[in-house]
Symmetry: none
Subunit: 426 residues, 2 copies
């Protein structure tokens, strides 16, 4: 609901979950109503004893519940269609606060409720001295539209779309809010923020904020303007400004993921032209890079084969990495991933070979090769019969899971920059 409301320019003042008790629900309605133009309450409209939302709303409104004859008839018809008598318990589902409007439930037996809560000067709170007092919201008369919708997702969604969304749209009074999220990988949140500079000014519109999840630093851009055209134009220009500040560090937006973006880069003309193919030779990530690549439906176009060579012996026997290189440089070294990437590429007849070897921990680290240190190689055709590699070594913080995750994302990022024809910025 929040997502859809945001999309049409509605600010979400708060979201709150409370236990199934009448006092708790009443208190939540009393606290939240003064803060907003519309309050949506979901759940507690069932036929059992712990369904108390309609009672709580009636108490806040200061009215009794009364039977909606219209909904009772609808329920009776519903049960008749199922060839079952209506259980007596369901009768409560046709009760709504006096003066409120009954909202039709198109796929269940719980009627929804729409009511207006008005609070004039007489009802406002007096104690301005208390620091615990949410005074900023309660010192003026207000009118809040309260919508009670079922908790069952299917019923909730239908009623939200039929009865709530149209009301909010009508009331949005001009302001249109657009939202977009831009994703980056490879630099820390503070570095990204520094590069964005004044774009992150809190008072800027569109605003730009950063969030971090799974090693991705994402920019959340919100544009709020009187018209859709303005909002869209401003969103575009702020997006462009972010891209100018961060360049190809931004790999996608909204639902984009690194594997999705790579799928498009490897296979841009799906069905028309053959994809470029990639193979993986993984040690410490143990198959994770291949797993991410094959998360994408249709990845068989560009992914044919992957090698997981966890032991030195298998790096030698199955990937043909010479024992001498392993013995001289160690399994976690750029010469070893170089050979892994080249040999995997050749054996899998792929256009690109990605190789990873590192210390995922928690043990196995040393002074020169600490836990978190990971070597990467990307093998590609420089010219006919001339394979070149890009080599990198990074040390990632965190535990085994985080190190493996970041290493896999870094490998995908290396391939991404290569496909863009750009040098890796780190």
């Amino acid at each position: 609901m929040s997502k859809q409301l945001s999309a049409i320019g509605c600010d979400i003042a708060a979201h709150m979950t409370v236990p199934d008790g009448q006092a708790e629900i009443e208190q939540a309605i009393r606290y939240l109503a003064p803060q907003c133009d519309a309050l949506i309450v979901s759940g507690g409209l069932g036929p059992t004893e712990d369904d108390l939302t309609r009672q709580a709303l009636a108490a806040v409104l200061g009215v009794e519940l009364e039977l909606s004859e219209e909904w009772l008839q609808a329920m009776l018809a519903f049960f008749q269609k199922l060839n079952r008598p209506m259980p007596e318990k369901n009768r409560i589902q046709a009760m709504i606060p006096k003066g409120a409007k009954m909202l039709f439930n198109t796929c269940g037996t719980a009627a929804g409720i729409r009511a207006t809560l008005r609070k004039d000067e007489g009802g406002r709170m007096k104690d301005e001295s208390s620091s615990l007092h949410p005074s900023s919201f309660s010192l003026q008369p207000y009118s809040t539209e309260i919508f009670v919708v079922p908790g069952v997702p299917k019923e909730m969604k239908a009623m939200f779309n039929n009865d709530v969304l149209p009301w909010v749209k009508e009331r949005s009074g001009g302001a249109v809010i657009l939202q977009r999220t831009l994703h980056t990988f490879g630099m820390g949140e503070s570095t990204v923020a520094e590069k964005l500079g004044p774009l992150m000014d809190r008072k800027r519109n569109p605003s730009v904020g950063t969030t971090v999840s799974g090693g991705l630093v994402s920019l959340r851009v919100n544009a709020r303007f009187p018209s859709f055209e303005q909002a869209e134009a401003q969103m575009e220009s702020t997006t462009d400004a972010c891209k100018k500040a961060l360049g190809d560090l931004i790999f996608g937006q909204d639902e984009d993921t690194l594997p999705k973006v790579l799928a498009l880069l490897l296979n841009p003309h799906a069905g028309v032209q053959k994809a470029r193919t990639v193979t993986t030779a993984e040690s410490c990530t143990g198959g994770l890079v291949a797993k991410l690549l094959t998360d994408i439906p249709g990845s068989s176009e560009y992914f044919k084969m992957g090698f997981i060579t966890y032991s030195n012996k298998m790096k030698y026997e199955r990937l043909g990495v010479s024992e001498q290189i392993i013995n001289t440089y160690g399994a976690v070294s750029e010469p070893v991933v170089d050979a892994m990437a080249r040999n995997a590429k050749r054996l899998a007849k792929a256009d690109f070979g990605i190789a990873i070897s590192g210390v995922a921990g928690p043990t196995g680290g040393s002074a020169t090769k600490p836990v978190g240190m990971v070597c990467f190689a990307l093998a590609y055709d420089k010219a006919k019969d001339d394979v070149a590699t890009t080599l990198r070594t990074f040390t990632f913080p965190g535990d085994r899971e985080m190190i493996r995750d970041r290493a896999a994302k870094m490998a995908l990022t290396m391939l991404r920059f290569h496909l863009l024809g750009q040098p890796l910025p780190f």
Copy 2:
């Protein structure tokens, strides 16, 4: 967090989400604190301008922020380890309200905060007449422990476990609540519930409930007794009763995962005796089985090599699965996984070979091989120079991600039952 708190007998008074504004966060703290013994605030501890939780808390406490020299040093050390200077912006992450306690972040740069908010009679609200007034909670002095933890899930979880949960447990007063979760994989929730029968009676103590997550059906056992000894004894006897009802379907408890349990079965005498080894030949799961096996530290003892043969050509060229078998039966067939498992086992010189080939979807299904159909083979040494295979075909519901996840878990489950010397119960 709610789940874990509920599990140890803690009532959740409310859950609330507010925008990234200082006024909004302050107001939420002021409203919620009087309603609870502990208030957990998550998020807004980042280094950027929209991270305002520490400022909001300081304002509510009526104190200034001050530098935690201890945390500043920890951050400097963190960045030094990464060979990067600490960006100036990160300095704010060492600021905490005066008089509050700094909570160590074991996997990030945001220090957590623990503070006590006290409100005596002088601060209580006066206006009892207003119906909008949450009077039931604010008319008495109170003391609330406020914990501020990072929003990044991993950091939040670690700090919650290290600093919040122990405090709550200590406060639970009198009744001892023990909790245990027993995990199963392979049978549906209703089947598991049927097998448990009266153990799932709602009034039973210890209580047994089922939850489903990621295809695992888990039993949550809660024992609530006056003494620890009683609780422990009852927990054991209920656990035994569950095991009697479900047998080896229960693969572990609490933090156990299928890969962890397999690690113990493959390598029971780590360091003393060599482990038995396993290799993987994956098609539709694209490396996921190997990734799961190598999630475990020390997995190099039993996992040396994995093959991801996504294309038919690579099944033939790199795993030696005859083209005739593939052409006759199709890539998703028991004869193909049989050959994949045997050949992978031989090439990797492993004790066990796991092979998977299936239709992960969303396209590629047919009437006889629908989306979700997956073939499995487990190759093992029946006698000297006599390799045998266990073969199975299952059809999993859900989308691509779910099908791949369930298939990987089923493969691990097949190996687990084999290592237990038990026939697969499905």
